[in-house]
């Protein structure tokens, strides 16, 4: 019954590859085809790259649920939804690497004191803390411990993290980087569609209940 596309999308090794490869990308301009513009400040390049990948993975994992709500019959969408935890945890791993690189780049933990005073850095710090919390509670057992409803509410913090990351990324450059729009507008549209559908379904259910 499974279509070839669905089979591919269900495969864990493929997802692992797709998640790990972007992390190795900086090796290219640093070692394989050295780019002087990157070598000028290699750590800054690595820092920005890791943050960018973390942000993309966070956005990708957040699109999976809306896609499932909008296309409940689509088998490829359902296949992709199997990887939600893996993608979510890898977003945290990249964020952790990004944060560690930031510490190395700034020369240690000392910088955190001044970080909390600057919205650009504080937003990143809070978003990272949220992802840490969500990764730490990503195990099946945690759902039992917390209870499904509480667990779900806690994991809705991922949306807060995404909003903070959007600001964090926009504030990172001297001028507003247009890529932020490319990354976050599709996510926002998907979320709006999802909310609209959910509201409609609830209303429908309420009407049916009254009729029944």
């Amino acid at each position: 019954m499974n279509s070839p596309l669905e089979k591919i999308l269900r495969a864990k090794p493929l997802v692992y590859t797709l998640i790990i490869l972007p992390g190795l990308w900086p090796l290219w301009p640093l070692f394989v085809a050295p780019n002087p513009s990157v070598l000028a400040d290699p750590l800054k390049y690595v820092l920005h790259h890791l943050g960018f990948v973390a942000c993309l993975l966070l956005v990708i994992v957040l699109t999976l649920t809306p896609l499932r709500v909008i296309f409940p019959q689509s088998r490829p969408v359902l296949a992709l939804n199997r990887h939600r935890r893996l993608v979510g945890v890898s977003a945290f791993v990249y964020a952790a690497l990004h944060f560690s690189t930031h510490l190395l780049y700034e020369g240690g933990f000392r910088v955190l004191a001044s970080d909390v005073k600057k919205p650009f850095l504080l937003t990143g710090l809070i978003a990272f803390t949220i992802l840490l919390l969500l990764a730490a509670t990503s195990f099946n057992r945690m759902v039992q411990i917390l209870g499904a409803k509480r667990w779900k509410n806690l994991h809705r913090l991922a949306y807060v993290a995404a909003a903070l990351v959007a600001y964090h990324q926009a504030a990172a450059r001297k001028l507003f980087p247009v890529q932020v729009l490319w990354i976050f507008i599709p996510l926002a549209l998907l979320e709006l569609a999802r909310i609209a559908i959910t509201v409609q379904q609830k209303r429908h259910a309420a009407t049916s209940a009254r009729m029944g």
Partner: protein, 322 residues
């Protein structure tokens, strides 16, 4: 016993070695990466060379190379902010060498002066009396720094040539406008052309410099050929590139970055480790070419030129006038 305390601006030995190894190992890739455009600048005798190639420059002993550790030519010419050619650091090296002509080039002196004139750059350099080399620290507002061996002439000589009237208090510098060849100017976000300004007393300070070259070679296009402003005690964005006009005025010109974000960038833009950028600290800086483990170095007041310029700002609240 003599204990040598390393100065804040000195790089570690390890980073110097890395740089030398880098040069040897990557020369070929470097040329490949930057493509025919920059290779042309480095190798070709004519054509892409900036206008001021014909003037050998002499080291000014007051600002010698031995006092600082110059950043590799490859980095100075490939890690640039020149939004006229894109916002990526590697954009200018790519896009400023695709047909944008910096020769012939004229500069206009205008405004409240007794000797308004338009000069061909070569004629101007000849009139000024040739070039000298000065090795300056260069500190970007983005908290990175380089050391650049500039070739050029003191701005004070240009001011003398213009012969300002008593009411002239400021200089307004304007860069070129050529959206056809400058891809970044095809977007209007910055409001072209780029504009910068100095107070007249800043302009005649001994440090203020008009650069026409680096490392004894004419300025590559991506560094602001054929002539640009260098004010080493200020953040790099004050160093307007590819100047076409210098106007003497009685009021402070509104410089491009101040117009765009007045809460982040002011008129003065003096390097000041105590006044942070709203989004990042200015207390320290990353040294370009230092490699991954070089760490940061402390940023010096007025970028280490306090002795020469502190007097210009006596009584001025530098936290308000950033």
């Amino acid at each position: 016993m003599l204990i040598r305390t390393p100065k804040d601006w000195e790089l570690s030995e390890s980073s110097a070695t890395a740089e030398a190894v880098y040069r040897l190992r990557n020369r070929r890739e470097f040329l490949k990466t930057l493509g025919a455009g920059l290779a042309g600048v480095a190798l070709a005798p004519h054509g892409l060379l900036a206008a001021t190639a014909g003037f050998p420059s002499k080291e000014n002993p007051l600002f010698p190379a031995s006092a600082l550790k110059p950043t590799a030519y490859e980095f100075i010419t490939s890690y640039n902010n020149f939004y006229e050619f894109g916002t990526g650091k590697d954009d200018p090296a790519k896009y400023a060498n695709r047909g944008w002509k910096t020769e012939p080039w004229t500069v206009e002196l205008a405004g409240l002066i007794r000797a308004p004139a338009t000069f061909d750059v070569n004629a101007l350099v000849a009139k000024i009396g040739g070039l000298e080399q000065r090795v300056y620290r260069h500190r970007c507002v983005e908290a990175w720094s380089m050391v650049v061996p500039w070739d050029g002439f003191p701005l004070a000589k240009l001011v003398a040539l213009a012969d300002p009237k008593p009411e002239a208090k400021f200089l307004k510098f304007t860069s070129f406008l050529d959206p056809k060849n400058a891809v970044g100017q095809q977007d209007s976000y910055l409001g072209w052309p780029y504009v910068e300004g100095l107070r007249l007393d800043e302009a005649v300070n001994e440090l203020a410099f008009i650069a026409t070259g680096i490392y004894g070679k004419p300025l590559p296009n991506q560094n602001g050929a054929p002539l640009r402003l260098v004010t080493p005690w200020k953040y790099g964005f004050k160093g307007i590139k590819s100047i076409v006009k210098i106007e003497f005025t009685d009021r402070a010109p509104l410089n491009t970055w101040q117009r765009l974000a007045p809460n982040e960038y002011g008129f003065y833009a003096n390097v000041n480790p105590q006044v942070d950028h709203p989004r990042w600290s200015q207390a320290s800086e990353r040294v370009i070419g230092g490699g991954i483990f070089a760490g940061r170095q402390t940023t010096l007041m007025f970028n280490g030129y306090e002795k020469q310029v502190a007097g210009l700002y006596k009584g001025l609240d530098l936290t308000q006038n950033y």
